[in-house]
């Protein structure tokens, strides 16, 4: 196996912009959120938490310019003025692996879809780093749930995009693998603008430069610790933060 770095040279990539989504969204006339104003900082990790069905995935899909089944009335903008869609890498809530492709085929799907040269060495390295080196030629049907999620993770990490949208990318993983994958993602997506939807407060505390909670009542921010991510779980500030976040998620005053 070639020992190439998993992250491509950062210089090849345009500087990641800051993003902002503001406006109202409705499903068949019924409002999902209104007066929302979500900033996503350039080159940093923004975490979005909130109860199930509140609209987190919808927000990611709006950024990616995908069909949401409803109507959005507002603005999605990038700090550099260019379009957001077209330079995002998106990992959806389900793994969305192509059943006819093996792990390698799924991880390298992006390049083939764009007609680019397939960097198999880098793909192999990423597959190894998500712990699937022994499964490169397995079809998705022969993988466990967590393994499938890791293939999807490797696939999104293969994409060299300035903006990365992750919808609960570690939800199907055990605690230990999850921590490893968080480290890998944080490492690989250095300097990218990342919007992470997660249900795990510990995850948000560990990774988020900024942390937002979307509730039926609106968006609110929970101030992140001064420590730089990835934050050690045992640190005082992290622990404190986690308690505060839990409270906020329960609707109690922070």
């Amino acid at each position: 196996m070639a020992e190439t770095p998993a992250s491509a040279p950062g210089s090849a990539l345009a500087p990641a912009p800051a993003l902002r989504l503001s406006g109202d969204f409705r499903h068949a006339g019924r409002p999902l959120f209104s007066g929302l104003d979500l900033p996503v900082e350039a080159g940093r990790w923004t975490c979005l938490l909130g109860p199930s069905g509140v609209g987190k995935s919808t927000i990611l899909r709006l950024f990616a310019d995908l069909d949401t089944g409803g109507t959005f009335d507002g603005e999605i903008s990038a700090s550099d003025g260019a379009r957001v869609a077209g330079r995002v890498a998106f990992m959806a809530q389900t793994d969305l692996l192509a059943p006819w492709l093996d792990v390698m085929g799924n991880v390298t799907l992006g390049s083939r879809l764009r007609g680019e040269r397939v960097d198999r060495a880098r793909a192999r390295d990423l597959i190894a780093r998500v712990g699937l080196a022994d499964h490169v030629e397995k079809a998705p049907a022969r993988l466990s749930g967590g393994m499938r999620q890791r293939v999807a993770l490797a696939r999104v990490l293969m994409e060299d995009r300035p903006i990365v949208l992750l919808d609960e990318p570690f939800a199907a993983l055990d605690a230990r693998t999850r921590a490893e994958m968080q480290d890998l993602a944080f490492d690989t997506l250095k300097d990218r603008t990342v919007l992470l939807v997660t249900h795990d407060p510990a995850e948000a505390v560990r990774l988020g430069h900024r942390i937002f909670i979307l509730a039926e009542t609106g968006l609110s921010e929970v101030e992140a610790p001064a420590l730089e991510p990835v934050r050690p779980v045992e640190a005082r500030e992290t622990m404190d933060m986690q308690v505060r976040l839990f409270r906020a998620l329960r609707g109690e005053p922070a």
Binding site: A64, D67, P99
Partner: protein, 264 residues
């Protein structure tokens, strides 16, 4: 879906052969039963025994004509499948084609090929070309229709993914829709395998001096119902073999798409 491996496959193949043999026996018994029960006269439907006799007596004649038809069918099937697949892909690519070509195709398909026979012979003559054209014509629409249906039913999640990956529609078609639609294409191909022989025979009826269709009409005109059914039998047998081959091929092509049955 069991563990797989070399041995079980062998057994399955043997089992399939046995099943096919069994099916043949049952079919022959059924045929004989129909002849007995309905008392249909032999000049309308001869029993399997008479047909077998005629088959043996005319083995050389039938074989000679069968080869011609088989060649026509194979070429027609290949061309029809290729052309049908290309059309379906084109329909997916171009909204204009979708809006104009699809209704025209349905319109043209609904014209019985017989009616077009003089036109075809005018353009393709009385040789093999017009028979191949006929076989092609008869399988074209099932292939297009089923494949196109399959292409439209790709998992929307995968399409979203392709969109965010910046894939142009042509590559989405090639790398996502196409493989996802292969099982549907397989359905179409299996239909085509059954109908291509009919197409070739109809082509021969329009004008030919060789082939199973020619032999059938000839036998029919000569009141040799036995010979006609012997030719028919060979034609149907060929279709079954072709169907089995195409089935095996399409199953191999779409191994990832799980097929399941109950009550085994």
């Amino acid at each position: 879906m069991s563990a797989g491996g070399a041995f079980p496959v062998e057994v399955t193949r043997l089992q399939r052969l046995r099943d096919a043999g069994l099916a043949a026996v049952v079919a022959l018994l059924l045929w004989q039963a129909v002849v007995w029960v309905t008392g249909v006269p032999p000049f309308i439907l001869p029993g399997p025994w008479r047909v077998a006799e005629s088959l043996l007596a005319n083995a050389g004649l039938i074989a000679e004509n069968a080869w011609v038809t088989i060649a026509e069918v194979m070429i027609g099937l290949l061309l029809g499948a290729a052309l049908g697949a290309a059309t379906a892909l084109h329909l997916m690519m171009s909204p204009l084609a979708r809006r104009l070509v699809l209704p025209i195709m349905v319109f043209s398909q609904a014209v019985p090929v017989f009616a077009l026979a003089p036109i075809l012979t005018l353009w393709f003559g009385y040789g093999m070309a017009s028979k191949i054209a006929m076989a092609l014509l008869i399988i074209y629409f099932p292939v297009v229709s089923t494949f196109y249906d399959g292409l439209r039913r790709t998992d929307p999640g995968l399409l979203d993914l392709a969109r965010t990956m910046g894939a142009p529609p042509s590559r989405t078609l090639l790398f996502l829709r196409l493989p996802a639609a292969l099982p549907a294409f397989g359905s179409g191909l299996r239909l085509a395998a059954v109908y291509a022989p009919i197409g070739a025979v109809i082509g021969e009826w329009v004008g030919a001096s060789k082939g199973l269709g020619y032999l059938m009409l000839l036998a029919n005109g000569r009141a040799k119902t036995d010979l006609m059914f012997a030719s028919l039998f060979v034609l149907a047998l060929f279709a079954v073999v072709l169907y089995a081959a195409v089935s095996a091929f399409t199953r191999r092509m779409t191994r990832w798409a799980s097929e399941t049955t109950d009550g085994t």
